[in-house]
Symmetry: C2
Subunit: 436 residues, 2 copies
């Protein structure tokens, strides 16, 4: 399904840095990642990188003594843009003003390195094209999976394959929460609170738990690996907030655990893509992801499955990805080609797979039997029925393992059963992600 | 321990290919990988790559009908070198004549792509320097771990970290054999024969089982990840041929299985490096490697552990790595820098770790107690004694788990015990690789 790529060699090579002259860096945003990058650059490992500016709003709150006195601290972005810095390192996050800064920097002939998945998911292709026209670089290796080099692993690493599937754990916060539920049996709310206390989750965690963070990363991966144009908003995202301790006990009976899974697959010209809680085999690379780890499993037509796993979150691992990008820019390898053109396709989340369904039957005679009849009538094949009363549940729940079928089919049958009064509360459906 | 890198920007950019003109490829060696590369290039995915020549000795034996009639088949290397091919794709293997061909191609201004670990382990730095001077590319992503993009994962992917350890399974044949012994209890000889029948192992398998193949790959990884100059011959390699079914039963009692492990670590200015059969936790990424998979686990000062895993052998996965390299050359990103200079260091295999020792005590009274005394007197702390009689063994063996200590200490104590007549046959020592 790779589009026929139209390669073109740029006539405008990136400005070569004079030999011996270090690459001058302006760091925007002195938060967790910014501090970790400054720490690495303070060491002696990378003399070809020189930190010249640290920009932050109300910069005086941020100033620290361990940064070299040669670094200029400023809260004036105009000073940074007017300076002779070679690279704008954008670690402020969010779309604005990051987008305006990146655009202005590129127009001024400065390269841009960023860890900002929102910015790249929203404006990546446009900024890449601008960078190419300006003979500059735009690098964003830290935007997906933090310290795990998945973007360069996919391209150039696997560019010679035809990728068929991407399946991964791209949000460290959700993995921390779900792994805590799995390993210690705590509720989601307790695990979330713990993640917040440890600084793994924001006070406002909806970007993480609702899947918005992971779907921005999945959109970037789909562009890189499939050469398809996709916006994050086209990818269905389902919150993990509905997962309960009982779901882990049911999952275990199926040899599975539960993870927030981001996946994409090309099927008959449609891009299947979603971010949702899903069952994964405990023996799979996704099931093995602990704490705030990230994992990506790619499936290629020729190379089969390739796994990338490691520290997907945290200041120091993300800083590694940022510094690797800075080195690539300092070595001034020009972006010689626009790469394959991106192609637009329909996007759906109607994956065909086995499913897990947790229901609370209505309190009436024969509700379970009626439910089974209703599902079977809707074309949904049942594999098994699990029953594990949960002390946290007010009403007893049941779990159903569903034969491989279309996601929409299961959801429709469940909606009809709910509308017919067979369920005491909305059901929870999760995909059972196949593992090889 | 990274050396202070001396970066220098090349004044000689790679010759840009004219826009729209595909990159012309001369393929040398039409074996398993060569056929798989030709298959991928026959498809429509990569119009920027055009196969122009297929060279092989006695080429008429090799000719197949499915290759486009525009491809020239030849057994005359001079014709290939004199042609207008942009890239020499060397898939013949071995050091000569591959080395002469690569050198001549670079001197003629042609880029070189190769999957040849022996060639790169022996002559990589020299050929890279020649390529840089000629403004050409030398790419060898397929030389380590086949289809798993570990070289580009390490650099540029993790170039911003300071790598402390590399630990991997780099030989698919040995992994096939050891995984068959683990999962089906067969002897090493039976597993090797099976691997040969399935085409996974050569008729003459010593490069694989003696660790020579894996240590060539480890030498390339050490240069790429640690920026250290190391020759394969400096790395200790121990055969896996001594591993018996009983060792897997003992290993299981320790929560471990057995793999051929290639590892390297910097310790006080010395490079610890070896390739040997070793015990690894069944729950670790190395323990999870099945059949002919390859795995690399890197440990970085900032990024912690990163795992790369996938199809390390076989025609199609290796061809993916080759085609990815061809695309990189076709996109004509010049190698702008010579990268950090390589530094020479002492090399040793005296790792400090826990050890597994399998012995057959001599047939005399009190041999076991004497052995324990001898080892303890030699400074070797014993953790436990395992006994699992093996029907394949003529004499009953014992396994000892040894506390963390220097490898040389254990080997010296065992040698002394053997010299003192306490052992009926030479002992087998394997490291127990720590897992986080």
């Amino acid at each position: 399904m790779n589009a026929s790529p139209a390669f073109e060699i740029s006539k405008q090579p990136a400005r070569p840095l004079a030999a011996q002259q270090p690459c001058r860096i302006a760091l925007l945003g002195f938060g967790t990642v910014g501090r970790a990058v400054a720490t690495i650059l303070q060491g002696s490992s990378f003399p070809q990188l020189r930190l010249e500016f640290i920009y932050n709003r109300r910069v005086d709150r941020k100033r620290v003594a361990w940064v070299s006195p040669q670094v200029h601290w400023t809260d004036d972005i105009e000073q940074v843009l007017a300076s002779d810095a070679d690279v704008l390192l954008e670690l402020a996050g969010g779309i604005e003003p990051a987008y305006s800064w990146a655009k202005r920097a590129l127009l001024l002939g400065k390269s841009v390195v960023t860890a900002n998945k929102k910015l790249i998911a929203a404006h990546g292709p446009e900024l890449l094209e601008l960078a190419r026209r300006q003979g500059c670089r735009l690098e964003f290796g830290a935007a997906v999976a933090g310290g795990v080099p998945v973007l360069c692993g996919v391209s150039p690493g696997l560019s010679g394959d035809r990728l068929l599937q991407l399946c991964g754990i791209l949000n460290g916060t959700c993995n921390y929460i779900l792994h805590a539920m799995e390993s210690r049996g705590v509720t989601l709310q307790a695990a979330l609170k713990e993640a917040q206390q440890r600084g793994y989750a924001e006070a406002e965690p909806s970007d993480d738990v609702d899947g918005l963070d992971a779907r921005a990363k999945l959109a970037i991966l789909v562009r890189t690996g499939f050469h398809l144009q996709v916006d994050p908003e086209q990818i269905a995202a389902q919150s993990v907030l509905d997962v309960r301790p009982a779901d882990f006990r049911y999952a275990r009976e199926l040899g599975c655990t539960i993870r927030q899974v981001a996946r994409a697959e090309l099927k008959s010209g449609t891009l299947l893509a979603e971010v949702a809680a899903a069952l994964v085999s405990v023996n799979s690379p996704l099931g093995a992801a602990r704490n705030n780890q990230n994992v990506l499993v790619t499936t290629g037509k020729y190379g089969g499955e390739t796994v990338f796993a490691g520290a997907g979150a945290g200041g120091a691992p993300t800083a590694v990805a940022v510094v690797s990008d800075l080195l690539a820019v300092a070595e001034s390898r020009p972006v010689a080609s626009r790469g394959p053109a991106l192609v637009a396709v329909p996007v759906s989340n109607d994956f065909r797979c086995r499913h897990y369904v947790r229901v609370v039957p209505a309190e009436k005679t024969d509700a379970i039997a009626s439910l089974r009849r209703a599902l079977t009538a809707g074309g949904v094949g049942l594999r098994g029925l699990l029953h594990h009363p949960d002390p946290h549940d007010r009403r007893p729940s049941l779990a159903l393992a569903v034969e491989e079928c279309s996601t929409q089919l299961v959801e429709k049958a469940l909606r009809q059963a709910h509308d017919a009064g067979l369920l005491a509360e909305p059901p929870l459906r999760m995909s059972i992600v196949p593992s090889s």
